[in-house]
């Protein structure tokens, strides 16, 4: 049963859809646009381009926009949505992990003292 679903899924992915170079470039552009719109909306003041790259949101936006467009509907809107919301969720998780790491490192320092 699952093999059948997988087979049809892969068939749709690689035989029905056609991925031209222009389309892949368009989706990368979509990812950049999604990242830019996210930066424009959120209110953090001290953001720089370097931070944008460092927290992985640009890279993530590009990857996810390509993956989103290919997997879902070969559609610009899906690519944008993927690039925007999933990087937002990823950075949210990353922030939570950073906070937890800071807490444990502080506790270890206190124990050593």
């Amino acid at each position: 049963m699952t093999d059948g679903i997988l087979e049809t899924f892969l068939k749709i992915l690689f035989t029905d859809h056609q991925y031209t170079v222009e389309k892949i470039i368009l989706y990368i552009l979509t990812g950049i646009l999604a990242g830019l719109v996210r930066l424009s909306i959120r209110s953090d003041e001290k953001i720089k381009f370097k931070a944008w790259w460092d927290d992985g949101s640009l890279f993530g936006a590009c990857i996810i926009s390509v993956a989103g467009a290919l997997l879902f509907d070969n559609n610009f809107i899906w690519a944008f949505m993927g690039g925007y919301f999933l990087t937002y969720i990823l950075s949210f998780i990353q922030k939570a992990l950073d906070k937890a790491r800071d807490k444990t490192s502080k506790q270890e320092e206190v124990k050593k003292e």
């Binding site: 389309k23 470039i25 953001i47 720089k48």
Partner: protein, 166 residues
């Protein structure tokens, strides 16, 4: 391509010029190390306007290299979606600009109230004074690309729903 062709007054050329202006503004703000919200707005407007209108400009459609990658035919949903994003972030940043101007002129507004409105001469003076005041504040915020209002301001507390965006 002659310059008159690029800067003629067709709708496509007008949008093309807006895209270029947004790009220039983005570079200017990047050099000035302005607020990232404004820089990102400028670049995204450049991309959106370029995809929507710039591609149809004769200066671009004549160029095979650029046109090959950017002459993508969007369906109507995607075009409307792009328009929606562009208008949303534009209105958001206009609201931020307005907040900044309001905050910068807030102290001087008391001075404006001192003018006597019954006298025509003083009312003209008041108009002049307030106009210059608001334009100055607007230019100051656009030039620096920074927001001047603190988040915990009385003014911002009115818009608590927008606290995360402001």
């Amino acid at each position: 391509m002659p310059l008159t062709h690029i800067f003629n007054l067709s709708y496509t050329s007008f949008s093309f010029i807006i895209a270029l202006a947004a790009f220039a503004l983005g570079i200017f703000w990047t050099i000035k190390k302005a607020r990232m919200n404004f820089i990102a707005w400028a670049y995204s407007i450049f991309i959106i306007f370029f995809i929507l209108f710039g591609v149809h400009h004769p200066a671009i459609s004549g160029n095979n290299l650029i046109h090959k990658f950017l002459s993508i035919e969007f369906d109507e949903h995607s075009i409307n979606f792009l328009r929606l994003i562009a208008s949303f972030i534009t209105f958001l940043n206009i609201f931020r600009l307005w907040c900044s101007v309001y905050y910068l002129t807030n102290k001087s507004v008391k001075k404006i109230k001192e003018f006597d409105e019954r006298n025509i001469k003083t009312s003209i003076k008041k108009m002049k004074y307030s106009f210059i005041l608001y334009v100055k504040a607007l230019l100051k915020t656009i030039k620096s690309g920074k927001k001047y209002y603190p988040k915990r301001n009385v003014f911002c507390e009115k818009y608590k729903i927008l606290d995360r965006i402001l």
